[in-house]
């Protein structure tokens, strides 16, 4: 019952080439009550990100005198997986919440909002491979939608290994049956890595290739993030130079 992960034409089980991204759709401003929000579909992932803040910190002793505290909760709905997921936060979700927060933090100008909290809530309504990367992409768009000062967006994409071949953006099947997964997030305009994780055995050569695949994937996600924000704030597409003159 094992899937053919890579066929003799070099195509993957869902027909993608090795360096092809799954279809990505990003929508900005989907929740009325949140200060900023975004919805992302990344392959079969369906994820909502909501940002509340800057706001008063509760409990009060958590407030920082010189900057905002960024808090993040990544949560999977019980119906998001093949078998029902217990709604209580798992150790996996706690770890992912932490690395997502640390991936976003370098981009947010926290010192502009002393003594406040900025909350990022992520709800995975349906999960596929790469949900943490999709979550990061959605959160950073939601932070921008909330009007929070940032020095860059954070874009994210994973590379991995199936059938001893480095590929871009693993889905669920490839994640389970493949032999390596390397999520990466970065600030594209600063060329700085803000999230990196890896499991699976990669040779030195494969590591370099996976790294460059993931960077390339990140850049494509960045374009889609920008387009989604432009669409909400400027209608269709980026205003051209001629129009603004």
């Amino acid at each position: 019952m094992t899937t053919v992960l890579l066929d003799d034409r070099g195509l993957r089980h869902d027909g993608r080439r090795v360096d092809e991204l799954r279809p990505v759709k990003i929508e900005v401003g989907v929740l009325k009550n949140a200060n900023g929000s975004a919805y992302i579909e990344f392959g079969k992932n369906k994820i909502i990100a909501a940002v509340y803040g800057p706001k008063e910190v509760h409990p009060k002793h958590m407030a920082l005198p010189d900057r905002a505290v960024l808090r993040c909760r990544y949560h999977m709905s019980p119906f998001s997986t093949d078998t029902r997921k217990n709604p209580a936060p798992s150790r996996r979700e706690i770890e992912i919440s932490k690395v997502i927060r640390e991936a976003l933090e370098p981009a947010v100008l926290l010192y502009d909002y002393p003594r406040t909290a900025i909350d990022v809530f992520l709800e995975v309504l349906q999960s596929d491979g790469g949900s943490r990367c999709a979550s990061i992409a959605a959160s950073s768009v939601a932070l921008a939608d909330a009007g929070i000062n940032m020095k860059d967006l954070v874009c994210a994409c994973a590379a991995g290994k199936i059938a001893d071949q480095v590929v871009l953006d693993l889905d669920d099947v490839e994640d389970k049956e493949g032999s390596g997964d390397m999520p990466l997030a970065m600030m594209p305009n600063f060329e700085q890595v803000t999230l990196f994780q890896l499991d699976g055995i990669l040779s030195s050569q494969q590591f370099k290739q996976a790294f460059s695949f993931a960077l390339d994937g990140c850049k494509r996600v960045y374009q889609l993030q920008k387009e989604a924000l432009m669409k909400k704030y400027f209608g269709q597409g980026e205003p051209s130079m001629e129009e603004s003159e």
Binding site: E95, P106, T194, L198, I201
Partner: protein, 274 residues
């Protein structure tokens, strides 16, 4: 997880001082940027455990104990034994550690150490099956952190690896559908020695094996694990700072190089020759 209480002013002053020193290639404790503190590995210190090890790096001290028991395999891997790695930050380990459920830092620590050992395929779990789909061996590696002075990731990982390398477990047999212990004791089926190497970015400098004081002011942390063949098998970036692309790639080289040195230490301490 830190034993250094964070004070904004002191932290900033110490960070500035550290960055000045690092620019001259020096560290507060006199080490070079890519030097580990003294690593001490003792095995067999808890005879009741199937395998055990105490590892100290500088003033960081941890004990790992391995217990091999029998259990039921996961439904999706009926032909594989189990490996469960866990770590606990004991309240006696620092003035700021408190009893209670583990915080996110300790959960991350346990999961990153587990990942390094699991993903390297150090243990050949396919050989830990008593009866497929019904009974397998379950390898529990539990770590108690006794004293913290930075680099808990590597210290914990080396302790688990040393305990696994030196472990002996009782073989069981199936008699009339029941498990019965035998007199036979065997070493675990091992394939490789994973070694994690943790680097910290402070300002523009990269150091290995950060102390508590360095961790309190670091921008970001990167733990990369390599196997005996020099492949990279696990990784985790932590803390809200960033790494440049070059720093990431050269981090992989550093991990491979330092990893080999430490792998030899682990072999020496455990007498493992595989």
């Amino acid at each position: 997880m830190s034993a250094v209480k964070k004070s904004l002013v002191v932290e900033q002053l110490r960070r500035n001082q550290m960055i000045e020193l690092l620019a001259q290639g020096k560290r507060m404790d006199g080490r070079g940027l890519l030097d580990y503190r003294a690593i001490k590995i003792e095995t067999g210190i808890i005879p009741k455990a199937s395998g055990s090890a105490k590892v100290t790096i500088g003033d960081t001290q941890v004990i790992a104990g391995v217990k091999v028991e029998t259990g039921t395999p996961f439904p999706d891997t009926p032909d594989q034994g189990l490996l469960i790695v866990n770590a606990e930050l004991l309240p006696l380990s620092s003035p700021y550690a408190e009893p209670g459920p583990p915080d996110e830092g300790v959960i991350e620590l346990a999961r990153v150490v587990d990942r390094g050992i699991r993903e390297s395929q150090m243990i050949d779990v396919s050989q830990l099956v008593i009866k497929e789909g019904e009974k397998v061996y379950a390898v529990f590696a539990d770590v108690s952190i006794l004293n913290t002075d930075g680099n808990l990731f590597d210290t914990t990982s080396y302790a688990v690896v040393a305990a696994l390398l030196s472990a002996k477990y009782t073989k069981y047999e199936m008699v009339d559908g029941k498990l019965r212990p035998t007199e036979v004791k065997e070493a675990l089926p091992l394939r490789t020695i994973p070694v994690s190497v943790t680097i910290a970015k402070i300002g523009d400098s990269i150091v290995v094996d950060p102390t508590d004081e360095e961790e309190a002011v670091m921008d970001a942390r990167l733990t990369l694990t390599t196997d005996s063949n020099g492949n990279i098998c696990a990784g985790q970036k932590g803390e809200p700072g960033t790494f440049s692309f070059d720093q990431m790639l050269s981090g992989a080289d550093t991990s491979r190089m330092k990893g080999q040195e430490i792998r030899n230490l682990l072999k020496e301490a455990t007498g493992y020759t595989g």
